[in-house]
């Protein structure tokens, strides 16, 4: 890249001038597809440093930068990018920033730069849709390599994080198939599940239960969350495997018997 001039206003978004090496069709002269990067970092020194690193690469172009997380959503919309390179501290203590970015720009890949890593944080970032986690101290050539890999659709993950993610997957899979960790379902939820396995649509279920389709949707979302399943077939399989309805009717029967015994005793 021969480098266009740069305008930086602290705390505001800025775009770079079109570099001379970029042809009109958006392809760099090198022939590689252009990778557009959005930088989100609270520290100017890092933003400047990263831009200098990327300025040496013909196929990478920084299209915007942001200093604060509350400017991020706006930046994502105004400056379409292939990769968002974000400082981990910007999203510390938040839980909705990454899902919101993923919702606004589902095609954009997110890389998070962290000062230190821990298991829960790492797993959560990957779970929410982050494609790569890198240290703040990453070497420039490795940073460029990481950006290219992630832009091409790969995931950047170190050996330790692979172990953490697999462990999280295993424990989630274990808890979903473990009968001891079953959540309780209300009679209404059980009847909705029964309707689903009979092939009924939400509208039909709503009609049968005397409620609205939206209420059925809300119930379904709650059931999916409770059981950790993601669609109707998985829901049916879960109930079949755990004999949910049999247990529910057994419990119901036991309560009727108990009520009967108490009723007899009082007479």
């Amino acid at each position: 890249m021969t480098g266009g001039t740069t305008k930086i206003f602290m705390g505001e978004l800025t775009t770079m001038e079109q570099p001379e090496a970029i042809s009109v069709d958006g392809m760099p002269q090198s022939g590689k597809p252009l990778i557009r990067i959005l930088l989100a970092d609270s520290q100017a020194i890092y933003r400047v440093g990263m831009r200098k690193v990327f300025a040496l690469e013909d196929d990478i172009r920084v299209v915007g930068q942001v200093e604060r997380v509350d400017h991020l959503a706006d930046a994502v919309v105004r400056h379409p990018a292939d990769v968002l390179l974000m400082e981990g501290n910007l999203i510390a203590g938040t839980s909705d920033v990454i899902p919101e970015i993923v919702r606004l720009a589902p095609e954009m890949k997110i890389i998070v730069q962290t000062s230190g890593t821990d298991e829960a944080h790492t797993v959560e970032l990957y779970r929410r849709g982050v494609r790569g986690i890198i240290p703040r101290s990453i070497a420039p050539d490795l940073l460029v390599k990481c950006v290219r890999k992630i832009a091409s659709g790969e995931t950047w993950i170190d050996n330790q994080s692979v172990t953490w993610v697999i462990e999280a997957y295993r424990s989630q899979a274990t808890s979903i198939t473990n009968p001891k960790s079953q959540p309780r379902l209300s009679p209404k939820e059980l009847s909705i599940i029964a309707c689903i396995t009979q092939g009924k649509r939400n509208k039909e279920i709503a009609f049968q239960l005397g409620t609205t389709e939206q209420v059925v949707k809300n119930y379904l979302r709650k059931i999916y969350d409770k059981l950790g399943v993601s669609d109707r077939l998985e829901l049916a399989l879960y109930c079949l495997h755990h004999q949910i309805h049999k247990k529910a009717s057994d419990q119901e029967g036991a309560m009727v018997v108990k009520a009967g015994v108490n009723g007899s005793a009082s007479h």
């Binding site: 899902p99 993923v102 919702r103 589902p106 990957y126 779970r127 849709g129 993610v165 997957y169 989630q172 899979a173 979903i176 198939t177 059980l190 009847s191 599940i193 029964a194 689903i196 396995t197 009979q198 092939g199 009924k200 649509r201 939400n202 039909e204 939206q214 949707k217 379904l220 979302r221 999916y224 399943v229 993601s230 669609d231 109707r232 077939l233 998985e234 049916a236 399989l237 879960y238 109930c239 079949l240 495997h241 004999q243 949910i244 309805h245 049999k246």
Partner: protein, 117 residues
């Protein structure tokens, strides 16, 4: 009986959400259920070894070559998931793996589309 064929997109629309797929893959449930299968106009009876929302492993008398398009009906016994009659799931899929173990033929298929019946 009403069919309720659903693609992933339809399912998401139905929930009224545009949730991204989770990191977790489909969980396999070790459930043995009768299975009636049609492959290349020939019918087979099989039994499931495990089922997930995206695939199925079953055993049968013949080895089915990978790549074979299949249609199958998984029978759900009466009363097991609330229905006081036999329910069934009709699936369309493709054989992705097959092997013989202890002289029994096994096949794994992906489920591309399903509907409760």
């Amino acid at each position: 009986m009403d069919l309720a064929t659903r693609t992933v997109e339809e399912h998401e629309n139905e929930l009224g959400v545009g949730e991204k797929p989770r990191l977790r893959a489909s969980v396999r449930f070790p459930i043995a259920l009768p299975l009636h299968l049609v492959a290349s106009t020939k019918q087979y009876d099989a039994v499931t070894d495990n089922i997930s929302a995206s695939g199925i492993l079953f055993h049968l008398d013949e080895l089915l070559p990978p790549g074979t398009q299949v249609e199958f009906l998984i029978e759900i016994p009466e009363g097991t998931i609330g229905a006081y009659q036999t329910a069934a799931v009709h699936c369309v899929g493709r054989i992705v793996r097959s092997y013989v173990e202890s002289s029994t033929a096994f096949a794994a298929a992906v489920i591309e589309e399903y509907s409760f019946q």
